[in-house]
């Protein structure tokens, strides 16, 4: 797949980056007299147009890709359906006739399609990028939007982060660097008398440091061995 409109992509990327930066700035009380909803619309419209233009320009590639994927899925579903059909036919003599075999095949296709759908959803939900997104997004959401400190959420998000580290094979230093980045925010919130926010961030600094230090100890132990 080729990018046919690189300059258009650059404009849209700049629009998105600026919108994101301005939203962050507005959250930190730095207003640039811009209506951010209108600005997002000004990004979304050309973005949709860009996606459409790229899809049209890469239509051959997309068509071939969809065809190959659907062929692969069709083969997988058909072979699974036939194996389910054999099991159903072997299970009961009711399905031994032609009608029974056809019925067994229909049931087989239904079950096989359902299994494919479940596996597809599971692959998306439990992909490592999802874990990365949910761990970082979850931590930011917990700091900014949850008004109280709930231990269960902290432990859950920490576990998600640990799983993310395992999936991506991140080094322990990354957790320590994230802790340092979060630590920078503490004096800012303390200076604004937002002690509760500073406390929440400090809790996450501590958790990241604990995870990072434990991981470094574990890695060094492996080296020593």
């Amino acid at each position: 797949m080729k990018i046919h409109f690189p300059k258009f992509l650059r404009v849209i990327s700049t629009l998105f980056l600026l919108w994101f930066g301005l939203s962050l700035a507005k959250y930190l009380s730095f207003d640039f007299a811009l209506d951010l909803r209108l600005f997002f619309l000004a990004f979304l419209t050309p973005f949709s147009l860009y996606v459409l233009l790229e899809a049209i320009a890469n239509r051959k590639f997309l068509w071939e890709f969809l065809k190959s994927q659907s062929r692969k899925k069709k083969t997988e579903v058909t072979s699974r359906a036939k194996s389910i059909q054999k099991r159903i036919v072997g299970f009961s003599s009711l399905f031994s006739g032609d009608l029974g075999k056809d019925l067994a095949l229909i049931i087989g296709y239904f079950i096989s399609s359902t299994i494919s759908l479940i596996l597809f959803i599971g692959k998306i939900l439990f992909s490592k990028y999802n874990f990365l997104f949910f761990s970082l997004f979850g931590i930011l959401f917990e700091i900014i939007y949850i008004p109280t400190s709930i231990d269960a959420i902290l432990i859950f998000l920490t576990l998600i982060w640990v799983l993310t580290i395992r999936m991506f094979k991140f080094k322990g230093e990354l957790s320590v660097k994230i802790a340092l980045l979060l630590l920078v925010l503490c004096p800012y919130y303390l200076g604004r008398n937002q002690n509760f926010m500073a406390e929440k961030i400090a809790v996450w600094v501590f958790l990241f440091l604990v995870v990072g230090v434990l991981q470094i100890i574990w890695e060094n132990r492996k080296i020593v061995e």
Binding site: V11, T14, L17, L18, D31, L34, D35, F39, P187
Partner: protein, 248 residues
């Protein structure tokens, strides 16, 4: 960066922030930001020749330079001009949001089409860019301070009629007059006008009986003691009106 120079620069940053803001937490925060920033810069410098890094950093430099320059020019020119026009020279409602958004989108389109990677080749060019962005940031911070100082002041945007005699009803439109349970006053010279209706964004007042005629200034004084921008108003002598009618 060597440890001794890191210590010296961190101390300088700490002292400068402490002198400017007089808050230890800000100074500590500034040192932390400086340390994190220098770590990031060292990391970038160490891997600047790596092909993977170049594939990622080049587009980021292009995009972030375009975004930074667009926002800087917007902050340097549009924001101060808009502030002077709507808050100082002519006290008017804000410009429609579409104008500012269109301007910044236009700036983004112009700057995005320039290839910054070919222009930012030396440390000097990066420093000049950083200096320009810093100057624009200072202008923005000054604008922000001034804007915040005037944000909650009462402002008269329009009023009708702009002259009248005693018992004339005048309608004033504006902002930040205060809620109805915190009524303020409307004055011309030192005399108080009669308030018929008081709302957050509009007032209905009545010209009292006055011995002083001629051009004067109308001001709104809120319950908190904030004064609005003065607007010209003419108190006419009813006797002169009768003379005009007799002449007809």
């Amino acid at each position: 960066m060597k440890q001794s120079s890191t210590l010296i620069y961190s101390s300088l940053v700490f002292l400068l922030t402490l002198i400017l803001f007089k808050v230890v937490f800000f100074a500590l925060g500034a040192v932390l930001v400086f340390l994190v920033g220098s770590t990031v810069v060292e990391f970038i410098w160490e891997y600047r020749e790596s092909p993977v890094f170049l594939a990622i950093v080049n587009p980021i430099i292009n995009i972030s330079s375009s975004a930074a320059l667009s926002l800087s020019i917007y902050s340097l020119f549009f924001l101060p001009i808009e502030f002077i026009l709507t808050e100082i020279k002519f006290v008017t409602p804000k410009l429609p949001p579409g104008i500012s958004v269109s301007l910044i989108v236009g700036l983004i389109i112009v700057f995005s089409l320039i290839s910054w990677q070919s222009r930012l080749k030396t440390i000097r060019s990066y420093l000049i860019l950083f200096l320009f962005v810093s100057v624009c940031s200072l202008v923005y911070f000054k604008y922000r301070d001034e804007k915040l100082a005037r944000e909650y002041l009462p402002k008269i945007y329009s009023y009708f009629p702009n002259r009248g005699i005693q018992a004339q009803i005048i309608k004033i439109e504006g902002v930040n007059f205060g809620p109805v349970w915190k009524r303020g006053d409307v004055y011309f010279r030192q005399e108080r006008m009669g308030v018929i209706d008081w709302r957050e964004k509009s007032l209905t007042i009545e010209v009292p009986v006055s011995g002083n005629f001629g051009m004067t200034e109308l001001k709104v004084l809120t319950k908190e003691g904030k004064i609005s921008n003065p607007v010209p108003f003419e108190i006419r002598d009813p006797a002169t009106l009768n003379k005009i009618e007799d002449k007809r």
